[in-house]
């Protein structure tokens, strides 16, 4: 009897436990961090090739200026005023990296440099941690076209560079693996590596670390700077009305991509749709696709970088297009240049613009699906407020030509 009771008791206990046994505990599910938002922009200064260069910073929070020569320790100081910074004081000789670290907010730093016959400008690019592209440069001028890879960070970086030109893909051993030591700049004269290419695109595939990449195409005449940008599937390229220009579209991945090019100059026109094979890029003359001021919208099935190259008798300029639209824009630079703001409106409604320039304010209207040009005598940076989301680039002239994008701090979503 006792045995039976014990058996009933034991099996009832175990049966109850089995019936209500806990399910397996949930495992920790990793949450993905937010997408990369770099707060560091950096440019390269080659003191031996630049007679005067200044950096203008557009701040919205705390800033620290960073600078490093090859292998040197990092200069690291707080920036408290917004006066243009003479870069010769930071990089008195040789090649160095100069950048700005923005903490807790966005910001932009642009560089403007000039020589006796040259003028160039550009935004300091963000870090590349995966892939990036420089497009719309050339090596057919017979002058130097320098690729600068700047690594102001604490860890070494390594990158593979793939190139393409009108002659197709160039897989060159010299660029297949470039080691960029921490806090230093590595340069390559790509004119020596592949000569007489009318249009060149460089695709950067990061093996480790992070770096900033730009090309300075110089010579006896004008100089231009083009910075690397990460790929995107939608680009806007403002096209000045009076300057011959080429558009280059380079994929940032090793995949074929289909590209649709549309022009907005008061009317919306589909220019063409074309497939870019692996290892090649697409180049076309922007000015033959329409007359007067206008802008192009380039969309693709895989990420690409679209840029513009401006050229003429004794001058050249260029840079990547825009990937963002915004309501408030800043254009940085230095005083004493004749310059033009290129303000594009891809919306189907008119935009009311207020341009603040020095002590003056200009009110303009930008029609739907069109671009206007606003000439100014440069007096430091200018800001633009718009009733609709617009895009902004600018050119500066005499001597030489510079082309650069603006910086928006209230983005259109």
């Amino acid at each position: 009897m006792k045995k039976a009771l014990v058996m009933v008791g034991v099996f009832a206990l175990i049966g109850s436990a089995w019936a209500f046994r806990p399910t397996k505990a949930e495992e920790l599910v990793p949450e993905s961090p937010q997408p990369l938002k770099s707060h560091v922009v950096a440019c390269v200064v080659d003191a031996d090739q630049t007679s005067r260069a200044v950096m203008q910073i557009v701040p919205f929070g705390g800033m620290r200026l960073i600078a490093a020569g090859a292998g040197s320790t990092l200069l690291d100081r707080e920036v408290t005023d917004l006066e243009p910074i003479e870069l010769s004081s930071l990089v008195p000789s040789g090649t160095g990296v100069v950048g700005v670290e923005f903490s807790g907010s966005g910001g932009e730093a642009a560089i403007e440099a000039s020589g006796e016959t040259s003028l160039w400008a550009g935004n300091c690019p963000p870090a590349i941690t995966a892939t990036g592209v420089i497009t719309a440069v050339s090596t057919d001028t017979g002058e130097s076209t320098m690729l600068y890879l700047a690594n102001p960070y604490a860890a070494d970086a390594e990158v593979a560079v793939l190139s393409s030109s009108e002659q197709g893909s160039d897989n060159l051993g010299a660029l297949s693996s470039i080691h960029i030591p921490a806090r230093s700049v590595v340069s390559r004269n790509i004119s020596d590596i592949f000569r007489l290419r009318k249009s060149v695109s460089l695709v950067f595939e990061t093996r480790r670390g992070a770096f900033h990449a730009l090309v300075i195409e110089g010579g006896s005449g004008d100089t231009m700077m083009v910075e690397a940008r990460p790929g995107a599937t939608e680009w806007f390229v403002p096209v000045p009305s009076s300057i011959p220009s080429n558009i280059l579209v380079a994929p940032s991945t090793q995949q074929p991509t289909s590209v649709l090019v549309e022009r907005f100059d008061g009317e919306w026109t589909t220019v063409f749709e074309e497939m870019i094979p692996v290892g090649e890029h697409l180049e076309f003359d922007a000015t033959t696709k329409g007359e007067g001021p206008g802008f192009l919208r380039i969309t693709s099935t895989t990420p690409v970088v679209a840029g513009i190259s401006l050229f003429g008798d004794g001058y050249r300029a260029g840079g990547p297009g825009l990937t963002r639209l915004g309501y408030e824009w800043l254009a940085v630079g230095s005083e004493g240049r004749r310059m033009t703001l290129l303000i594009m409106n891809p919306n189907d409604v008119e935009g009311e613009l207020r341009v603040f320039h020095g002590t003056r304010q200009i009110t303009r209207t930008v029609p739907p699906e069109s671009m206007i040009e606003v000439p100014l005598l440069w007096e430091g940076f200018a800001s633009v407020e718009s009733s609709v989301a617009v895009g902004l680039a600018w050119t500066a002239e005499e001597p030489g030509l510079a082309y650069s994008n603006g910086y928006t701090y209230t983005e259109w979503e």
Binding site: K3, V6, M7, G9, V10, F11, L13, I14, S16, A17, W18, F20, R21, P22, A25, E27, L28, P30, E31, S32, P33, Q34, P35, L36, K37, S38, H39, V40, I66, L74, D76, E101, S103, A127, T129, P152, Y153, A154, A155, D156, A182, R208, G209, A210
Partner: protein, 918 residues
């Protein structure tokens, strides 16, 4: 029985002094009478001894008293040629001395020993000179109770003669400085004979000299002391080159024999070996002194000793002889069957054989852990400074993570205490793991015996208990304290269930209480809620009528001891902390295994020799599984549940495999079903035999962070960011990763547990959240206040991207699967006014100067002097040149009480055992 001995001429008779070694007055008087009746009268009789009894005896007989042979021989006139060393419990026949002197003169021997006969039966031989093996083990060459038929009456060289009666040249004895006073009687004779031979003397036995021996000299000598003395003799006599191979070989032989005897049900040999080793470690400096003294007079090499030694090991021969005898017992019985009687007899060979097989497979399954060569899951690396761990446990500051006043886990303190007490630090892990495994297997068998079970199936139950499904579940969770707790739990139950034998006196009862204190205390020290399992196991046993109420007092003592030893921790942590942090799964993963256990339970209850024990096991499994249904199940409660389930499984398997009843209602089919169910359970455990880790992860963290100490004299902290499955010990969770701080260059056992987050932990979490958003470009600066020198990130985790574009943490290629970043902004844990401030143990010191010492510990108002707060961190004034911490006195008192309980437990057990041995 005497033989005619040629009288020594009275002319030029050598003068002899008789040295009577004093043991007790009664025997001594008889010895003195026998000496007085010698036909060859000694010129002087001296009593050698210490204490009041010896002094009183010498005074009453008007004899000279010296405290040692050395003192005697140093003051002895040169006219004395020989010293007759005679035990005070010996009675020499009248011509004994004459025979000794005669043979000494005739053979020119240096040491001449007598034939020793048993006083209670003078027909029986005790010793006629003897040999030893190379380990100093005596080989008498006599059968038990062998009668003296003069079969050994030949004067011959021997390995040693008993110190009961021996004649030795005065000058030799002076050179040897007498008997080794630290040697017990038997090994003293071996030691003296060996030293005499190495000094160039010869050692012979003169059987014509007969001495009756009472052996009261051994009354106050513990069993292990003779073994200890023999080890000391080896160290004294052998040259270094001989010791190089004899010591490790001797140790291996002793341990093998000890474990073998343990399997045969005898605990004492293994314990004696351990005691003998410990004693020799303690007295080693004096052994070196004895060795130096011998070197002064040494004239022969070790080969002189080898000539008189037998080959092989006497201990092993005896062991195998005993084993063979037991085998013979079974072989001689009914062919092919083990009879019921054999099963119930402790001397049955089946028990040792099954035990041996079980131990072999258990060792195979846990070989990587038992080897102790690598840690696993971060839980196996011992504290660098066990004393600091004990200080922290006793109300001090606990530096784990960013520091806390909560004491370390009791298991950390228990292991640290054992580490301090263990003389072999390098082998400590192996000793601990092997001990836990062996204790678990045989402790479980012993527990089942206390519950009334018998037969070899107990060992199979022990196997399932120690290395079965629950042991593997513990390994999967890498919770090492639970593995150790498996080792002590059955002993705690046994200590409570031990029966008071009839006639057991107070000391024996105290011994039982001491065992309950000791085992209960250790259980609490390893598993703070282990007392739940203890109470449940005992409660079910009482409810089923298989334990008596007489054990209530011991159950109470064991439970209180467990609670008190874990007291500082239980007092400090919240219930949530006790029930969280980890969970050991109590349900087997396989439904087939559960079904097999249920079948085994049914067969055990129906057909087991003691069905009630199977029922007991079933209830324990059920209670353990029911506990897992509690909403707050986890942490220490899961350890208690695992102890219950594991014990339940073991008991069920043991009874299902016991084949208790023949014929009748229990059919062969039922028994076969039970055996198959047991095989399923056993083979489910054997599945983990592959890597020999019992489910524990590989010890990938051993030595992984040594770069920290190699590259920095005072390594601060390492921030380890990894997948939760790989991270050693407990961890905190960030967005998409787990992380923890590591103090110094390795994850020590005492660091395994993390405690409730304090302000610093919250601040660090915020920094890591920010870092994970990839918005931080100065991670080194952000982490410097936490004294983090290094960040180690598992490659492939998204947060590794946060260290790509940043300015102050240099990536160093040190590890293959982890990115290592050195903090260029690193600051020390004790950031004082100058560089003199460094960490020392848990706290810090430096030059006394004005200013502030910022401490990368969570702020606490018990830091001294002048505690303050800097953000989340602590600050003190540097003016005293050191940082102090005011302890929590309540926890300190509890910790001291816990240590006292363990100490008293040991003391009572030894005291109680002595009475039983007497």
């Amino acid at each position: 029985m005497t033989t005619e001995t040629e009288p020594v001429a009275r002319v030029n008779r050598p003068k002899v002094v008789a040295a009577l070694l004093f043991y007790d007055a009664e025997s001594q008087a008889s010895a003195l009478t026998a000496v007085a009746s010698q036909v060859y009268e000694p010129s002087r009789v001296v009593v050698v001894g210490v204490g009041e009894d010896a002094a009183a005896f010498a005074a009453s007989k008007k004899l000279q008293l010296v405290d040692s042979l050395e003192a005697l021989v140093m003051g002895l006139e040169k006219e004395f040629e020989y010293v007759w060393v005679l035990h005070g419990d010996a009675e020499p026949r009248p011509d004994a001395l004459q025979a000794l002197v005669g043979e000494a003169k005739r053979t020119d021997a240096s040491v001449v020993g007598s034939k020793i006969l048993k006083h209670e039966d003078p027909e029986q031989l005790e010793s006629v000179g003897a040999a030893t093996d190379v380990f100093g083990e005596p080989y008498l060459g006599l059968d038990e109770n062998e009668v003296d038929l003069q079969q050994y009456d030949v004067v011959r060289d021997v390995g040693f003669v008993a110190a009961v009666s021996l004649l030795i040249r005065r000058d030799l004895l002076r050179g040897l400085r007498g008997l080794d006073r630290m040697q017990p009687p038997d090994s003293a004779g071996i030691d003296l004979s060996q030293r005499a031979r190495l000094a160039g003397g010869s050692v012979i036995v003169a059987p014509s000299s007969e001495v009756l021996h009472r052996r009261s000299c051994q009354n106050k000598v513990a069993d292990w002391r003779e073994q200890a003395g023999r080890i000391r003799s080896m160290f004294t006599a052998y040259k270094a080159v001989t010791l190089l191979w004899t010591v490790p070989l001797g140790l291996a032989v002793a341990l093998f024999e000890g474990i073998g005897r343990l399997l045969m049900g005898k605990v004492a040999p293994l314990l004696n070996t351990i005691k003998a080793i410990a004693w020799n470690v303690a007295v080693f400096p004096t052994t070196l002194g004895a060795r130096r003294r011998l070197r002064l007079i040494r004239s022969s090499g070790d080969e002189e000793l080898f000539r008189y030694q037998v080959s092989g090991s006497i201990r092993l021969k005896d062991f195998f002889a005993d084993l063979g005898e037991k085998l013979g017992l079974v072989v001689d019985s009914e062919p092919g069957l083990i009879s019921e009687e054999d099963l119930t007899r402790d001397k049955s060979v089946a028990g040792p054989l099954v035990g041996g097989i079980v131990l072999f497979f258990a060792a195979l399954m846990a070989r990587s852990l038992w080897a102790g060569g690598s840690g696993f899951g971060g839980y196996m690396l011992l504290p660098d400074h066990p004393g600091d761990v004990l200080w922290s446990y006793a109300g001090g500051w606990n530096p784990t993570g960013l520091g806390t006043p909560i004491p370390p886990h009791p298991a950390a303190a228990t292991v640290a205490l054992a580490q301090l007490l263990c003389p072999f630090n390098s082998a400590f892990l192996t000793i601990l793991n092997v001990s836990a495994g062996v204790l678990a297997i045989f402790g479980f068998s012993r527990m089942l015996s206390r519950l009334g079970a018998e037969g070899p199936s107990r060992h199979v139950g022990g196997f399932v208990y120690a290395v079965g499904p629950m042991a593997i579940a513990i390994g999967n969770e890498a919770y090492w304290p639970a593995t150790l707790a498996l080792g002590i739990f059955p002993w705690a139950v046994s200590a409570v269930l031990a029966e008071d034998k009839k006639g057991g006196g107070f000391r024996r009862r105290a011994g039982g209480i001491g065992a309950a204190m000791l085992t209960g205390g250790i259980l609490g020290g390893l598993a703070p809620l282990g007392f739940f399992a203890l109470i449940a196991a005992l409660g079910v046993a009482a409810a089923l009528g298989i334990s008596k109420l007489s054990s209530v007092s011991r159950a109470f003592v064991a439970t209180v001891s467990a609670i008190v030893v874990a007291g500082p921790y239980l007092n400090a942590v919240s219930p949530e902390r006790l029930l969280n942090g980890f969970t050991i799964e109590t349900w087997p993963q396989s439904k087939i295994l559960v079904a097999a256990l249920l079948v085994a339970l049914a067969v055990g209850v129906v057909a087991g020799r003691h069905w009630v024990i199977a029922g007991w096991g079933g209830f324990l499994m059920g209670i353990g599984w029911m506990l897992s249904l509690l909403p707050s199940f986890g942490g220490e409660l899961s350890v208690a549940a695992v102890l219950l389930v594991s014990a339940g499984m073991g008991a069920v398997v043991a009874e299902a495999f016991s084949f208790g009843r023949h014929g009748g209602s229990v059919t062969t089919a039922v028994r076969t079903t039970g055996a198959l169910a047991v095989l399923v359970v056993v083979f489910s455990a054997l599945g983990g035999i592959g890597d020999g880790r019992l489910g524990y992860p590989k010890g990938e963290w051993v030595g992984k962070f040594e770069f920290a100490s190699a590259l920095s004299e005072n390594p601060g902290r390492i921030l380890l960011i990894s997948d939760p499955a790989r991270i050693p010990g407990e961890f905190r969770v960030g967005p998409g990763f787990a992380y923890r701080l590591i103090d110094g260059d390795e994850v020590n056992f005492d660091e395994a547990w993390l405690y409730e987050p304090r302000n610093g932990d919250v601040a660090l979490d915020a920094v890591l959240q920010n870092l994970a958003s990839l918005n931080v470009t100065r991670p080194g600066e952000a982490l410097s206040r936490f004294a983090i020198d290094w960040v180690v990130v598992e490659q492939g985790l998204p947060i590794d991207e946060a260290f790509v574009a940043q300015f102050d943490m240099a990536k160093i290629p040190l590890l293959t699967d982890f990115s290592v970043y050195a903090n260029e902004r690193a600051r020390p844990v004790f950031d004082g006014p100058d560089a003199s401030w460094v960490r020392q143990g848990v706290l810090g010191r430096g030059d006394p100067k004005p200013g502030l010492v910022k401490i990368a510990y969570n702020a606490d108002d018990r830091f001294r002097p002048n505690p303050g707060i800097d953000g989340w961190g602590a600050t003190v004034s540097p003016e005293k040149g050191s940082v102090g911490f005011k302890p929590d006195f309540a926890r300190r008192a509890m910790a001291l009480l816990g240590f006292l309980i363990l100490g008293c437990g040991v003391g009572f057990v030894i005291w109680g055992r002595k009475e039983s041995s007497e």
